[in-house]
């Protein structure tokens, strides 16, 4: 199962911290991050790219976005 990080409703920079923690701790090469603002979406995508992760898909979902990131 892919790890899901629920960062909805959290202030800056917590969505990025949670994403980086999941990247660091997780065994998965793929993650799903849920955010509720465009700022968080951009920040999470930027942080994922800085860790060598690709953004696989960004889909609007329930008042926010579902961001799928993965590494080879």
């Amino acid at each position: 199962m892919t790890t899901t990080v629920d960062a909805r409703g959290l202030s800056c920079p917590q969505p990025v911290i949670l994403t980086l923690d999941a990247i660091k701790n997780g065994k998965d090469k793929a993650l799903v991050v849920l955010v509720d603002t465009d700022t968080s979406k951009e920040n999470v995508m930027r942080a994922a790219a800085s860790q060598g992760y690709r953004v696989e898909a960004v889909a609007p979902e329930a008042n926010g976005y579902r961001i799928a990131i993965a590494k080879d």
């Binding site: 202030s11 920079p13 917590q14 603002t37 960004v58 609007p60």
Partner: protein
């Protein structure tokens, strides 16, 4: 999905920082106080004065720039479908953080925006302020690393997101109904300054238009001066920092061009030379901004896009300005106020208490 947000790219944020830097220096040329083309803390303090929340006669003016920031951000948020009404992430704590952020900023005499504008104008005291700001934000990052959180917001009624923009529209209406009368310190319900920094201002319409423009651009680019330092310290991520530095460089160049660059430590406009308290005041402000997730400008832009918690932070800053002047906490060009040092100590204790006690439960 919408098209790519160009203003959120590296060059986008650099461009927005540059525009703010130039406009701030130009606003100063057009009448705003020295090295205070735009200062979010100072201008909210002036608004508190205009409303009579404090009675410091020299800092009373309903600053149109602040009104423009909120409304410009709201316009951008609506155009790009980013207006999301949300609230409920420890609003009372954000109010207290806003109040102490203001008190710290008024011990230094400026918010992070003005700290770089002061540096860009040659005021060496700003270096101490910026070092303090960085120190305060660094403490904040330690809390963030250890799971500090104010909790999640909830989606709410659109009305909630409109509250601060409507308050700002109300302030604008008051300004139009009770305009400044030359030489008078009151017009209807609004207070004005007959002399001092509060008497120095660019023409209302220009200030409002600049405010609206910056509000629009800053909402799109997520410009944040606290985030600039925080992200660099916390992640080595220099995205926001490039905007902050671009503001400094362009304000400096514009000041050179306009003959507004005067290097030195003494006799700088609306500044004092007590290095320790310039450092400590800004350290308190930096810690409070870090714990609240944004610099004072960013809190205005977030309020414009529907963040009711950021709006509470803004109101905390305005009320904090009232306390700062009523209690003798704010500094003046002669140095710190009679109770400024005590207030910095109390503010640090309050912020540390919040930082230590509000942590995510580690599962």
């Amino acid at each position: 999905m919408q098209g790519k947000n160009i203003l959120a790219t590296r060059w986008g944020i650099i461009g927005v920082g540059a525009v703010i830097g130039v406009l701030a220096a130009v606003l100063q040329k057009l009448g705003n106080p020295g090295n205070m083309g735009i200062c979010v803390a100072c201008f909210e303090r002036d608004i508190a004065g205009a409303l009579g929340l404090h009675r410091a006669a020299v800092v009373q003016y309903m600053r149109p720039e602040i009104i423009g920031f909120v409304l410009g951000s709201m316009i951008a948020a609506y155009i790009f479908k980013e207006f999301r009404p949300r609230v409920g992430s420890a609003p009372i704590v954000r109010f207290v953080l806003g109040a102490f952020a203001m008190i710290g900023a008024l011990v230094f005499l400026g918010c992070p925006w003005r700290a770089v504008l002061r540096l860009a104008g040659g005021d060496g005291n700003a270096i101490l302020g910026l070092l303090g700001l960085t120190f305060g934000i660094w403490i904040g990052t330690l809390f963030l690393k250890n799971g500090y959180t104010l909790g999640r917001t909830q989606t709410t009624h659109t009305t909630v997101g409109w509250m601060l923009p409507l308050i700002m529209l109300g302030f604008l209406a008051l300004t139009l109904i009770f305009p400044q009368v030359a030489g008078q310190d009151q017009s209807g319900v609004l207070l004005y300054s007959a002399k001092g920094p509060g008497a120095m201002h660019a023409p209302l319409l220009i200030a409002l238009i600049v405010g609206l423009g910056i509000g629009f651009l800053a909402q799109r680019s997520r410009f944040c001066t606290m985030g600039a330092i925080r992200d660099t310290v916390l992640f080595g991520q220099t995205h926001l920092l490039s905007g902050f530095i671009s503001l400094l460089v362009l304000a400096f160049l514009t000041n050179l061009l306009l003959g507004q660059f005067k290097p030195g430590f003494s006799d700088q406009p609306v500044a004092h030379t007590m290095h320790i308290w310039n450092f400590a005041g800004m350290a308190l402000a930096g810690l409070a901004f870090a714990l609240a997730g944004g610099c004072p400008g960013r809190q205005l832009f977030l309020s414009g896009e529907g963040d009711g918690d950021a709006a509470v932070f803004v109101l905390g800053m305005i009320v904090g300005a009232g306390f700062a002047h009523n209690f003798g906490l704010a500094s003046s060009p002669t140095g710190v106020g009679p109770h400024g040092i005590a207030a910095v100590v109390v503010g640090f204790l309050a912020c540390l208490f919040i930082g230590f006690s509000m942590r995510r439960k580690v599962a």
